[in-house]
Amino acid sequence: MPYIYADPSRCTGCEICVLTCSFTYFKVLNPKKARLRVVRMEPAIDLVIACRNCERAPCMEACPNEAIKRTSKGIIVVDEGRCDGCGRCVEACPLDAIHIPPNGRAPIKCVACGACVQACPVGCLKMAYSFEEAFEKRRNYAERLKEIILSLRNSG
């Protein structure tokens, strides 16, 4: 399933993606109205949180009105017409990736439109597909390991 991903060791936490998102969908600047968010944690971690479109999605299972559906591309979307704003999906999500925006009724979540990917000044945001992402991560770890081994050899 596709989702928005950023390497937390490369993301700088500028929140340009967040503002771009809120402007794309609401025509205002307001991080609380964005479909993704960036959480800064010590030490030096900036974590982009966006819906992973889980295979077995707790939000879908929690919805009493069948207002949360999956498109043919695998993206989970909220059907505002069927949603009564009960908020059970928000409680069910383990990632905190779906929320009801200020003054809103129905919850919003990332629909992987990619507007933020284009706006990221560091180029670290990307549209990821689970299996490719796993491969990429393994390759990155291997690269880093190579660096460590080389530096150990040089210093030893």
């Binding site: 060791s9 700088t12 500028c14 340009i16 205002v28 600047l29 609380k32 109205k33 800064r40 030096a44």
Partner: protein
């Protein structure tokens, strides 16, 4: 408020009577002063009575964002904090980036004004319309990082905190206000003013919209600005080194203050420079809100005794705790930087004060006994670190050094005054003006005492000839671009001061507007039009900048400032640089000052704006006020 981009409201907090009031942001104020440094200059000129004690309840502390703060304009994340300075006794103002200022706007406030003094330690909690003065018993006495942790534990992970550390509580005259843990509004002692008001912190959460005037065109403009910023040739180095590689660049042109500004080159510069930090200590570049340049650093020292990790350092700190104190142990400097952040100290004035004490100690003007037994030679990093802690808590000799080098020297006497590297009571930052004449002038004229950022005339520093031509015209070249030539520097500093005032008024960073010089007046005009719907042009903006600078000057004139105070230490104007590329040079200050006052339309003899000048800027009330007090004259007709 008719204009978009603004939150449209100003928050008034009367600490003495524990009263909270919300007022609309007057449109006239926006049109004449924009926001940030501009509205601070205007409102505080009216609110602060001349002659008051900066640490008394009569002082007024004001935080202000700009109309672009919190928007997608590159680096639009800044706020101004201003009051009468306890370090200089004149206009005090400081700026910082981070995520705090945008959050304040998302909560629905452009500015906060603090009056009076709380009877016991308090902090301000803002959650959109809920504004509360709360008891700070639990956080008073805590460091900056502890305070941030506790307040976010209490109010939520997404809350943004601006606070003071022990230095501010103990009224160290150069205490900083820290926000988002590692961001400092450091200069001119705003942290001490906050401490004197018994105000420990301001915690904010906001969920309101910032609207833009032209939503259809907005994103096209944003993409254009971002492309323009990202395509600048400076960008890769900025991300890689932040400002740390300025150590190497400044060494190359002999502009790296060393041994209390005795000289502009440091033999061991490479040990404290950008390359060392990048290779051994950088964890990650971090950005502030809406920042594309990511010059912020996150660094870590893994070994004892200087084990630490956190934000920074900037060039300023590397120099002031490094070459300026003769310290080449980079791990000690990084630890000192961490300490300054955590204790809430201005690292520039702290390093400046310590390096003054070091020189006086080596010359035998201050004895070891007076320094609590510390062997304060240049290069003694252990003593430097110990002093930082003593200063923040005012322990032992720290109590004296917490007053700043100028006051400390006046107290000690014995000729130590000669070695104070200050203007108007504030320590000179990490610029050796003998190697860049425009900087010497800018430091002498800046409204908050010695300060490189007020005018920030860096265009002649590393050859931005193309930009100089675009901004000022062909006729001033080549002299204006020659950093060792005093010619045309009065003109350049005047122009830069006006522009920097506008930049701080709209809430964006000097990086990206001045160095590298990517955005200029026309970009600000576009941004204000599309974001705020404000009908401005370049001429109007230039006038706003000039108006702010003149208002700052008027504030200082009321406090007794005139040409006699626009000066530099004799070391810089009389003693030729002993070493390096600027060897033999002094700062030709008087010549540049004459040109500067002439360009400003100020009286050549007194350095004061004329009555007519103030009128032409629409400052009739200020002109009348100064005239009535006998501080300025009308031109003889």
């Amino acid at each position: 408020m008719r204009y978009k981009g603004y939150a449209g409201r100003i928050l008034w907090i009367d600490l003495t009577h524990e009263k909270v009031r919300v007022e609309d942001f007057p449109e006239k104020l926006a049109e004449r002063y924009l926001g940030g440094s501009g509205i601070c200059a205007r409102i505080l000129y009216d609110l602060i009575k001349p002659g008051i004690d900066p640490l008394s309840p009569e002082n007024v502390l004001m935080f202000a964002t700009g109309p672009l703060t919190g928007t997608l304009f590159p680096q639009a994340c800044r706020y101004t904090v201003a009051a009468k300075s306890p370090l200089t006794g004149i206009w005090g103002e400081s700026h910082a980036a981070g995520h705090w200022a945008p959050e304040l706007k998302f909560a629905g406030y452009d500015a906060i004004i603090f009056l009076g003094r709380a009877s016991k330690p308090v902090y301000l909690w803002i959650d959109d319309d809920e504004v509360e003065i709360k008891d700070a018993g639990e956080i008073w006495g805590r460091t900056v990082l502890e305070t941030d942790d506790i307040l976010r534990e209490e109010h939520g992970e997404d809350v943004k905190v601006a606070c003071i550390g022990p230095a501010g509580e103990n009224l160290v005259r150069y205490a900083a206000i820290m926000n988002d843990r590692y961001r400092a509004a450091a200069r001119s002692g705003m942290g001490a003013v906050m401490g004197s008001k018994n105000l420990k912190a301001i915690a904010v959460r906001g969920s309101r919209d910032i609207e833009v005037a032209d939503p259809e065109a907005y994103m096209d403009h944003v993409r254009r600005w971002h492309r323009k910023m990202l395509s600048h040739p400076f960008m890769p180095d900025r991300a890689k080194y932040g400002t740390t590689n300025l150590i190497e660049l400044m060494q190359k042109i002999g502009r790296l203050p060393t041994y209390n500004l005795r000289q502009g080159v440091f033999d061991e510069y490479y040990k404290i420079g950008g390359e060392t930090i990048y290779r051994k200590y950088l964890v990650k570049p971090v950005a502030d809100f809406a920042c594309l340049q990511r010059c912020g650093r996150y660094t870590a020292v893994y070994n004892e005794p200087y084990r630490c990790m956190g934000g920074g350092p900037e060039y300023e700190t590397l120099c002031s705790l490094g070459s300026r104190c003769g310290v080449s142990n980079i791990e000690a400097i990084l630890y000192g930087n961490w300490l300054c952040n955590n204790l809430g100290l201005d690292s520039v004035s702290a390093g400046g004060t310590i390096s003054w004490a070091m020189e006086c100690y080596e010359l035998g003007l201050i004895s070891r006994d007076e320094l609590d037994g510390l062997d304060l030679r240049f290069g003694n990093e252990e003593a430097m670190i110990e002093l930082l802690i003593k200063i923040a808590y005012r322990r032992g000799v720290g109590d004296l050094l917490a007053e700043g080098s100028w006051r400390a020297a006046k107290k000690i006497g014995r000729g130590t005054e000669r070695y104070v590297m200050h203007v108007k009571g504030q320590e000179i930052a990490s610029q050796e003006p003998r190697a860049q004449k425009s900087m010497g002038l800018a430091i002498a004229t800046a409204a908050r005492g010695a300060d490189h950022l007020y005018g920030f005339p860096v265009l002649d520093e590393v050859g931005f000839e193309k930009e100089i031509r675009e901004r000022f015209g062909e006729e001033y070249l080549p002299e204006i671009a020659d950093r060792l030539n005093p010619k045309y520097k009065g003109f350049m500093v005047k122009e830069c001061e006006d522009y920097m005032a506008v930049v701080e008024a709209v809430g964006v960073c000097k990086y990206g507007t001045q160095i590298p010089p990517v955005f200029y007046y026309q970009d600000m005009v576009d941004a204000l039009r599309v974001t705020c719907g404000m009908d401005v042009d370049v001429r109007k903006l230039k006038m706003i900048g000039e108006r702010i600078v003149n208002l700052n000057r008027a504030f200082n004139i009321r406090e007794g400032i005139s040409r006699k105070d626009d000066t530099l230490p004799e070391r810089l104007t009389k003693v030729p640089a002993p070493l390096g590329p600027a060897k033999g040079h002094v700062v030709e200050l008087d010549q540049m000052l004459d040109e500067y006052y002439r360009c400003r339309g100020w009286d050549l003899e007194t350095g004061k704006p004329t009555y007519e000048k103030l009128l032409s800027l629409g400052l009739e009330d200020v002109a009348e006020d100064l005239l009535r007090k006998g501080l300025i004259r009308k031109a003889e007709s």
